[in-house]
């Protein structure tokens, strides 16, 4: 009876295992193999061992892209979640407008990232919407070539990412806020804890699981960012917004260095797995301590 049940369970699991194997594990293994060949993307692929990885070590473009990717991720994770938390905190305290404003904040996530990037490329243009708005409010001195300056380009691209996904972070924090025990909040209020004090002592510890989810998701998303830098800057100016994903794309589809591009994607995968696992583990440890 027990064995029969296990056999039935295995039969039901089989489709998922096969699909996962065919569409996830096999491509991954094949990718690792291809990164050790001299493939140009065609059927001809000679095994060259770790040649592509050794070439990567001598490529300053990879070091730059890795740094840009990590910096971009750091900015996005901190600002996006900071804003998300701020909005969630404000909305929690204003039940009448909570639903409406939450929907408003979530609206950008409904737009295709590519379309959003195209729209923002016009807004960021020297004669675009942002500079026009600054002129309108008498701040002409703040006019800037947002995407044409190496010191602001990466942050401008990150700003689009933040604009798009802050509502998403906010929704997760707000859900956590809504699940807080009301008696605990009422007890805190009776003890005279309000405002900042209540946030630091009561809300912040209770938001720990939401913070773990938000930081992990935004970290993975921002490390894999592709559409925004591709459409907004194509890695420019002067390589200031080159990310690992752009290098992968450029080598695989533009430069004809297919195997090198695949090797880069393996490095990207390892980077994402290591950083997101480490961050997630640390935050879960923090949750247990609270």
């Amino acid at each position: 009876m027990f064995h029969r049940r296990r056999a039935t369970m295995a039969a039901f699991l089989l489709p998922a295992i096969v699909v996962y194997g065919v569409f996830m594990l096999y491509p991954l293994a094949r990718g690792v193999y291809l990164s050790m060949t001299d493939s140009l993307g065609g059927p001809i692929a000679n095994f060259v061992g770790t040649q592509q990885y050794r070439a990567m070590a001598d490529d300053p473009a990879v070091t730059d892209a890795l740094w840009h990717t990590v910096l971009y991720a750091a900015v996005v994770v901190v600002v996006q979640n900071g804003l998300g938390l701020l909005f969630a905190s404000m909305l929690f305290r204003r039940p009448k407008v909570r639903k409406v404003l939450n929907v408003v904040l979530l609206t950008p996530t409904l737009i295709s990232p590519v379309m959003a990037a195209f729209i923002w490329s016009y807004l960021f243009a020297p004669t675009g919407g942002i500079n026009a708005l600054l002129d309108l409010v008498g701040l002409h001195g703040l006019n800037h070539v947002w995407l044409g300056d190496t010191s602001t380009a990466l942050y401008s691209v990150a700003a689009v990412n933040i604009w798009m996904f802050t509502g998403y972070s906010c929704a997760i924090f707000l859900a956590s806020y809504m699940s807080m025990p009301t008696e605990l909040l009422e007890a805190a209020a009776l003890d005279g804890a309000s405002g900042w004090r209540r946030f630091v002592s009561i809300e912040w510890p209770l938001l720990a699981p939401a913070l773990t989810v938000n930081v992990t998701l935004s970290l993975i998303g921002s490390l894999k960012v592709f559409e925004f830098p591709l459409v907004l800057t194509n890695g420019g100016p002067a390589g200031a917004t080159d990310t690992l994903t752009l290098l992968v794309y450029r080598n695989v589809f533009g430069g004809g260095k297919f195997a090198y591009g695949v090797a880069l994607s393996v490095v990207l995968l390892v980077t994402v797995v290591v950083l997101s696992s480490a961050t997630s583990s640390l935050l879960r440890l923090r949750e247990r301590r609270i």
């Binding site: 070539v145 044409g148 194509n234």
Partner: protein, 422 residues
């Protein structure tokens, strides 16, 4: 009952999965019962903003070959095209005839995807200038469709307002004209360079005159290690800087403007007197309604005539895996004929790559065509040291130079490194 239900569920799931896996596969073109064959043609011209008379030529082909139907597929240019075609070629699903450029021809040819067209009747009629871009390892793998210019656009209405009647041909005259235009309150020149293409291309266009009029064999010398960027390309790089030093262009601004989307729109809207782009934009700019002139980059010394810069543009290749190889070759052959290709060249404002080819005349490109006819031209070496990767790197390094983040010497050294990479 329960057991039979479970077995049924398992059987259904396994069957559904097997069916979904079996559904993978298929084909593209084929022959019908009456012997009519359909060929699948894929290209980045013939749709969107560049119809290029492709539909008209396809219609003429079907009329001339009633037993062959053309299933034409337009795909957006550049990365999108490669992104779509590369996996299709790998999976044997690509078109029978595919559009390529030199870079793709080399890569896809090396992977064995392209048929050898050396024996085709048109192959011997390709000019030596164009032939080198269609060949790999001594085999002709593509039929060149055009040699297309990249150069300076001038809005003749705005020039007239500044008292200028003709497009400048040399560098001092060009600077003087830019000064006049600026004095008249008109934005002198737009060189949008967000993706780095314009900067690297103007650098090449200036070099086409400055470097190649001194040494026609510069490419060969460079590949033999007898010539270098450090010694020969200072002036083309300086020309880019001079435009900003004289106050005609703000590079930081230009690096924020997209050369493919915003650039053409801005020039068509009459926002600047001069602009830099490929001849393929002439047809679109003409629609704006003002007289436009397309000329070589005026990089020559005082009184000298400039060289035009051309690029071996689009080419047709036949998929080596095509089941309709004969029909595909017939299609390519049809395009090689002057009366058919000239319709495409007319739309592209390009030169014919064939001996005794028919290059349509147009008033907008007179200055450029004259330079070509007089032999004052240089073709971008996109088949050797200026392949796609080197072009991208050059664009990025020039952006750094224009932003003051790298010296001229360092920039030329970086370009040399990119151009030397195997």
């Amino acid at each position: 009952m329960k057991r039979s239900g479970r077995c049924l569920a398992v059987a259904t799931t396994v069957a559904a999965m097997a069916m979904s896996l079996a559904a993978c596969g298929g084909g593209s073109s084929g022959a019908s019962a009456d012997g009519t064959v359909t060929i699948h043609v894929q290209a980045w011209k013939g749709g969107g903003a560049e119809p290029a008379n492709v539909a008209e030529i396809n219609k003429a082909f079907e009329k001339a070959n009633p037993k062959i139907k053309v299933d034409f597929e337009y795909i957006t240019a550049n990365d999108t095209y490669t992104q779509k075609l590369q996996p299709e070629l790998l999976g044997g699903k690509a078109g029978d005839v595919i559009m390529v450029d030199t870079d793709r021809m080399k890569k896809w040819g090396a992977s064995g995807y392209l048929a050898d067209l050396s024996g085709e009747s048109w192959a011997s009629r390709v000019t030596p200038d164009a032939k080198q871009f269609a060949q790999a390892d001594g085999k002709t793998l593509a039929m060149p469709m055009e040699l297309i210019g990249i150069g300076l656009y001038a809005n003749m209405d705005l020039l007239k307002k500044a008292g200028i009647t003709e497009v400048p041909a040399d560098w001092p005259t060009f600077l003087a004209d830019l000064a006049k235009v600026k004095k008249a309150g008109i934005d002198p020149i737009a060189l949008p360079d967000k993706s780095g293409w314009t900067g690297s291309s103007v650098f090449q266009a200036a070099g086409s005159t400055v470097v190649y009029q001194k040494n026609k064999q510069w490419d060969a010398d460079f590949l033999d290690g007898k010539a270098s960027f450090a010694s020969d390309w200072k002036e083309p790089l300086q020309q880019l800087k001079t435009l900003e030093d004289e106050g005609y262009v703000d590079w930081k601004n230009q690096l924020g403007v997209d050369e493919w989307a915003q650039g053409p729109q801005d020039f068509s809207a009459g926002k600047s007197a001069f602009w830099y782009q490929g001849a393929w934009q002439v047809s679109n700019v003409k629609k704006a309604g003002f007289p436009v002139s397309f000329a070589p980059w005026p990089g020559a010394a005082a009184g000298a005539k400039p060289n035009g810069m051309l690029f071996a543009g689009t080419m047709w290749s036949v998929n080596s895996q095509s089941k309709q190889g004969d029909a595909a070759r017939e299609y390519v052959k049809f395009w090689s004929q002057n009366q058919n290709l000239s319709k495409y060249l007319e739309a592209e404002h390009a030169e014919s790559p064939f001996i005794s080819g028919l290059t349509p005349e147009s008033t907008e490109t007179t200055a450029f065509t004259t330079a070509f006819k007089e032999g004052r031209y240089r073709i971008l070496p996109s088949n050797s040291w200026y392949a796609a990767a080197a072009e991208t790197t050059t664009g990025s390094k020039i952006q750094a130079y224009l932003l003051g983040k790298a010296s001229a010497a360092q920039t030329l050294k970086d370009i040399q490194t990119a151009a030397s990479a195997k």
